[in-house]
């Protein structure tokens, strides 16, 4: 049984009397422990799809099922929205424990649990910093850690590295692949960076322009870590790009894998 089954999802928004169809019959399945990337042109409805999967928005038609049970409300999926949405009034550690607190874990125990993960997420020593004192990369890693601490078997990430510069993004991708390998949770990743999707995912789902439909699906059968320069990679990329249509790939993405020496991110902000 697939971990997550999306069947025939359709959704329209109504704005000022105008019906705006956003999703048009989307279906796909995610196997347990799989890493699935969803790519699609900007504004095609990726975030809407994610919110429906997370039970935050109702669909007009179709179903979402987790472990075979239909999703009717939130609480099944650990969701990382497009922005980091750290609470500026909470210190880092207290931002991380939000999902634990909601589950009724006492503050002290929750902090201890969150503390254990700080080094792994590259946040060691910043427990007491306010979000405004962290770099953009650190804030996204913090949001990611908060998502992991939500402790759901499915993790849904909406362009988690979208706001990062190319080098930081590469580092975070390598690191997310590690996290996925070690934690073995089912990951759903939205991105409009085709390289990112192909470097990370077992399976790529390509959406067309709004109203979004699944226009292409492929299992990425490449050894890890993936060589972005290999002909096989290029073949996958060509297929995905062909289905995405023109001009949707991020032109700023570097053609070289791995960060150059000294390209450190996540340092303290300031000059």
């Amino acid at each position: 049984m697939p971990k997550l089954l999306v069947e025939n999802l359709s959704k329209s928004y109504v704005q000022e009397g105008q019906r705006l169809p956003v999703l048009d019959g989307i279906s796909f399945a995610v196997e347990p422990g799989a890493f699935v990337a969803i790519v699609g042109p900007s504004g095609c409805g990726k975030s809407t799809l994610m919110e429906i999967i997370c039970g935050l928005e109702p669909a007009d038609a179709g179903t979402v099922a987790v472990d075979g049970k239909p999703v009717t409300g939130p609480g099944h999926v650990a969701y990382m929205p497009q922005e980091d949405l750290l609470f500026p009034w909470r210190r880092l550690i207290d931002n991380l424990i939000v999902p634990l607190q909601l589950k009724g874990v006492p503050r002290h125990a929750a902090r201890q649990e969150a503390h254990r993960w700080l080094p792994f997420f590259g946040l060691d020593g910043f427990a007491d910093a306010y979000p405004s004192q962290l770099s953009g990369g650190m804030r996204q890693r913090a949001a990611l850690l908060r998502t992991f601490l939500t402790e759901r078997e499915i993790i849904a990430l909406d362009e988690p590295f979208g706001a990062l510069d190319a080098h930081t993004r590469r580092r975070m991708q390598v690191w997310l692949a590690d996290v996925h390998r070690q934690m073995r949770r089912t990951v759903l990743l939205i991105t409009h960076d085709v390289d990112e999707a192909l470097v990370l995912a077992d399976r790529v789902v390509v959406l067309g322009p709004r109203p979004a439909r699944v226009v292409y699906e492929a299992d990425i059968d490449l050894p890890r870590p993936r060589d972005i320069l290999s002909p096989a990679f290029a073949a996958y990329k060509g297929a995905v790009l062909a289905h995405l249509g023109n001009g949707e790939e991020d032109p700023s993405a570097p053609a070289v894998a791995g960060p150059p020496p000294g390209a450190m991110a996540g340092g303290r902000r300031g000059h």
């Binding site: 935050l56 650990a78 500026p88 009034w89 909470r90 405004s132 004192q133």
Partner: protein, 301 residues
């Protein structure tokens, strides 16, 4: 929504922004340096006032010179501090506290109930158009010459800015943050406590600061109607006996206390909302609203 704090902090009384990353420069020297122009202007105005009064030989009961006011203040200070100040400050402080409670309560109700927003909110606005000075005699008729009518005048005068600030603050909570909490399975109450309340704190303090500057003035006005002691009583008595320099002495104290209330609210704010200083220091106020979330928020301010 954090951007709205920025102007408030820019106008913050004793926090200075430097170009550097730490953002905060404190210390008496910096403060004196900052207020030097204001102090200079005040001194110059007082000098002109003094000179004009002397030159034109204005009678003391019409317009006393600053020196005469200072002398009157000096002479009356023991009585002012021991007899009148405690009464007025107690009325202002307690009234402000009552306004705070009433403002938070009604602001929360208006925020949480669409029905209250349509009925209670307009009423609150209309109630603000009734001048306090008109209400004061009525309250005296109903509640006598004791402390209660004065407390009520202060409460009525201070309550509105607080209530509006609470409604605005709660309404302004980031939708994305609320959605995130919902995705984690948070109840409405948990969303209220974890996001809406902290999000509203800055706005609340802004309203409270405005209210605090009204409080002493409202207490003084309430005292005009009648009472045994208080700065308002002192001012009215002095006016009735044409001791104009004493009226001014009273006004000086009212001003000093109002400014003190204003500063006190600022201090409490820094103590209760320590994260605001960091937000400012990092210059992050604007950045924390990513463009991508703009579509999901319609802020009205």
């Amino acid at each position: 929504m954090w951007s709205r704090f920025l102007p408030l902090w820019e106008s913050g009384f004793f926090i200075q922004r430097s170009g550097k990353d730490d953002g905060l420069v404190k210390g008496p020297l910096a403060v004196v340096g900052r207020y030097l122009p204001v102090i200079g202007l005040v001194v110059a105005l007082l000098a002109v006032w003094e000179a004009a009064v002397r030159h034109f030989a204005v009678p003391k009961y019409v317009l006393p010179a600053p020196s005469a006011i200072a002398a009157a203040l000096h002479g009356a200070l023991p009585v002012l501090l021991k007899v009148h100040t405690p009464v007025t400050l107690a009325e202002a402080g307690l009234g402000l506290l009552m306004a705070l409670i009433a403002g938070i309560a009604s602001g929360t109700v208006v925020h949480s109930s669409a029905w209250a927003r349509r009925t209670l909110y307009p009423l609150l606005v209309v109630s603000q158009t009734v001048p306090v000075i008109v209400l004061a005699p009525l309250l005296v008729i109903w509640f006598g010459y004791g402390m209660l009518p004065k407390l009520l005048v202060v409460t009525i005068a201070c309550f509105f800015p607080i209530a509006v600030a609470v409604v605005d603050g709660l309404d302004g909570a980031h939708r994305g943050m609320l959605k995130l909490l919902r995705s984690m399975g948070a109840s409405g109450w948990q969303q209220f406590v974890m996001v809406k309340v902290p999000a509203a704190m800055g706005s609340l303090f802004t309203g409270l600061r405005v209210a605090a500057t009204y409080a002493v003035m409202a207490a003084v006005i309430a005292e005009w109607i009648g009472g045994d002691a208080g700065l308002g009583v002192y001012i009215v008595r002095s006016a009735n006996s044409f001791r104009t320099e004493q009226v001014f002495a009273g006004i000086v104290l009212v001003t000093v206390y109002s400014i003190a209330m204003f500063l006190l609210v600022g201090l409490v704010r820094r103590w209760v909302l320590p994260w605001e200083a960091h937000l400012r220091a990092a210059g992050e106020a604007v950045k924390s609203i990513p463009v991508s979330s703009a579509k999901s928020q319609e802020r009205s301010r």
